[in-house]
Amino acid sequence: MIHQYDLVIVGAGLAGLRAAVETSNHAKVAVISKVFPTRSHSGAAQGGIAAALGNEEPDCIEWHIFDTVKGSDYLGDQDAIEMMIKEAPEVIYELEHMGVPFSRTKEGKIAQRQFGGHTKEVVDEKGNKKRVPVLRACYSADRTGHVILHTLYEQCVKNNVKFFSEFFITSLILENNICRGVIAINLKDTSIHIFHAKAVLFATGGYGRAYRVTSNAYANSGDGVAIAFRAGIPLEDMEFVQFHPTGLYPLGILVTEGARGEGGYLLNNNRERFMKNYAPTVMELAPRDMVTRSIQTEINEGRGINGKDYVHLDLTHLGREKLKERLPEITGFAKTYAGIDPAVEPIPILPTAHYSMGGIPTDLYGNVLANEKGKIIQGFFAAGECACISVHGANRLGTNSLLDAVVHGRRAGKTILKFLAEADFSPLPTDSGESDKEYINHLFSGTGTENADVIRKILKSEMTNKCGVFRNETDLKAALETVRTLKERFKNVNLSFKGKVFNTELMEIIETGNLLEFSEVIILGALERKECRGAHWRTDYEKRDDVNWLKHTFAFKTDKGIKLKYKPVTILNYQPQERKY
């Protein structure tokens, strides 16, 4: 079946829906999502969305820009960061006007809380300037992503946006550098659909599911990233995977950084606030990469609770009232999954794979790049976690991800409307969808012997154990070898169920193929990057190396395997400095 739309958006999280809101009154738009839109994982974001509104105390755009640059360990492109931060207040006010139910200050303004790495400049008693935490994260209790996701979906309902829910994309139609649409499977009957479009926007989210311990949803299998890569588009900075410091032990379910923003402590087995040894000025509110390494170091050196691989997040001193008002969701999680009442007992936590800084490279306006030199693919756009602009560089600050998704979803929408004013449908290649059909028929008729679940489990363990918080050459080489072996085994994968109605086994097999595709890129990027920067920490190379490595990785899929190239970082006002907190 062939559908025709001016714009096809893939993914219905914050970036995809914000783009749909921007464009749907002016063009024929369809949104494809493998889950019902409000099930998208943006809804799991808890703590807040950053903007220097200054509602609770003085704040300014410049401080937010500097914090983001420093947080990125100077790998973020400063033109992109500046543009995003300057737009932040405007997009937050827009969200409020659309109906987002933010928590409020006494005066009725949007309430703001502290978050890691977000600071203000103050002068201490000796007259020295220093930076301390600032109230910058706009929040709605600890359900900020949920309320924004629902509000954007509501706006889409108002605008009569056409959704194709539970459609799963399998490939991009790209020929002669022009994007012409996507191929998707309708999960309800396994039929193949061709979406012919003038423009395609990928807002497909992250890829945390490549890891065993992760805060990510089942759906976060990096489908968009893998599909773009297979279509010949490079991937940027894939080695930078954020591990959130506080995943609920042992599953890795997210416990918001807002818990520390509200005053929570991290304690080791000696009941010591160990962050004083790692980030004495901001303590628990250091950026995520630092807090994560500090926790992992405590665990590795035997100071985990009772020698186990977790530490404590202590909120008991905040009191029951504050937990109920500000952190109700995580209070519930702790009770449900760990059997713990955070008002009286500390929460067991461990680092958990959380966010992908890397992804499909784009320019400042959402155009996908064909190479490291800035050539663009016509009609193909990306925004949100699947994209890399790069505003987060080597480490994203908490609450900058929702901001990224909303700002760039909106901006990509504006770019696309301009593009559509002059664009026409490029013809579909005659064999569109044929290889997808062939692959699915191959699986349905196949006699494979490998179990996708077994392959996936080995991959996830290997990624967590050998390409995680701390990395080294020996582990990375071993992981690379494993992934390559798994890719070979995967060619012989078995689809045991041959039914056509909601064959979720088929979906899981395709997702596993996607995980394998980009995991190799993550490992290879990490193996080659011989330095420590942000979330990429090599124990065999001790420090950041700006002389050789102040550059973005671009990975290309070629006939001879993955080829890595590099692109310089855009530096404007802030020269790299040593990163201390």
Binding site: V35, F36, T38, R39, S40, H41, G43, A44, L53, I92, Y93, E96, H97, M98, G99, P101, F102, S103, R104, T105, K106, E107, G108, K109, I110, S140, R143, H146, V147, H150, T151, E154, Q155, V157, K158, K188, A217, Y218, A219, L251, I253, L254, E329, G332, F333, T336, Y337, N451, D453, L495, S496, F497, G499, K500, V501, F502, N503, T504, E505
Partner: protein, 233 residues
Amino acid sequence: MKVTLSILRFDPEKDEKPYRKEYTIEAEPTDRILDCLDKVKWEQDGSLSYRRSCSHGICGSDAMMINGKNQLACQVLVKDFKKKYIRIDPLPALPIIKDLIVDMDSFFDKYEIVKPYLINKQQPPQKERFQSPEDRALIDESVNCILCGACSASCPSLWTNENYIGPAALLKAYRFIFDSRDEAANERLDIIDTPDGLWRCHTIFNCVEVCPKEINITWHLSQLKMKCLEREF
């Protein structure tokens, strides 16, 4: 420990009607029911279909009937059950598409009827619209709804009258009618102030009992009823 799941199975391509099938798996007390379903699917029977995504009770994908009660499979653990024989059914009163996957179109159609979006025709200010913490508190619980469908599928009024708009859509109406920034309260009240609307709620409280987000839905509906009565007198 060993856990036996008795799951309602149905594949429209080959089954005339649903049937039960038992699976015994090895599980930890802290495993979620969702983990148990995954074990069945990955280790024993790839044909089992169910929806899931976030796995911690915020996306609303995996509402199903577990031991006779509508719940999220990711929010109940093996240790929550005394007997390790657990019955799993799809949400009741909705057409089964396959196994535990039901057709939720009617649920979402009803959601759309109440105009589920903020309506305010004034030119917005340069910054945010002000809302006092007290006004914000009025919608505190109602904005937590994850549209999982557990409430509507538990409602006897809806079981016996499919035209009833149901608790989830009414809660959404509340969320906007009681939002101090919204101007379309009357428009929405006109929609729900009907025999198949708000007045089909007979305060049975099933919805409150099953809501995985612990929203007191019936209380919210009673506030709407009072609002309707205020309009008339």
